[in-house]
């Protein structure tokens, strides 16, 4: 079910020290565990609970999601461009599976 996350950097080429904005959108139901199904039983919780972004292997930003995050979570954040390398975004599901997306930054 995991489709490819959509990731956008506001500047794929940056000067050292520049602030780069990242926007990312991933498809996920983010079932809160609060809803009841047609049989009256609660639908079990299934959300992405952890988001981490690394640039060239170093963590620059992370977030812990709660059920109060909307379905198909959108996240926008920034990092300081210091060196060229892959920008890897990882979302972790309640069941332990991971959704991984990758882009890259070139620092001149």
């Amino acid at each position: 079910m995991a489709t490819k996350p959509r990731i956008k950097l506001d500047k794929p080429q940056a000067k050292k020290g520049d602030i780069v904005e990242v926007k990312a959108l991933v498809q996920h139901i983010m079932e809160s565990g609060q809803r009841k199904g047609s049989d009256g039983k609660p639908i079990p919780r299934k959300i992405l609970n952890k988001f981490v972004c690394t640039v060239n292997g170093k963590e620059v930003f992370s977030a812990d999601f709660e059920p109060a995050i909307s379905a198909n979570p959108y996240i926008q954040f920034h990092f300081r461009a210091m060196e060229s390398g892959p920008v890897v975004l990882t979302w972790t599901d309640d069941d332990g599976s991971k959704i991984v997306g990758e882009d890259k930054i070139t620092v001149s």
């Binding site: 909307s70 379905a71 996240i75």
Partner: protein, 152 residues
Amino acid sequence: MKLQVNRRQALGVGAGALAVAMGGFSTVAHADKKMADEAIATFSGGKTPVTGKVKLDLPEIAENGNTVPMTVSVDSPMTEQSHVTELLVLAEGNPAPGVIRFHFSPASGVAEASTRIRLAKTQDIVALAKMNDGSVFMATKQVKVTIGGCGG
């Protein structure tokens, strides 16, 4: 004229059905102020949060509580000497008060992040920022929710 009355009746029935549907969700336990206060106390580690520095950007009125755009930012230079380490967002009127927790470091460049959140009803949203020196700042904003995002 007759047509107009019919339309009003139809709307009335529609609103009634909606109220019944919403009533079903109101049986879900909502976080009370106490749970949110406990979360604030745990996060602050005994310090009293000071209002300021944090900017919580949310719409005044959210028509759909299922997806409310939110931007939180903190006025900080984000250097090794002075930066935001953690940012916690709480919704006092949701079934559970926790919304999201952001982790920042000087590598983040600026302490700002956006996402879309669920709000069960009209309520106050609280954002708390922890600095590297341990001080805690906060901001509060009320959002009026027309249709709750409480599981529905």
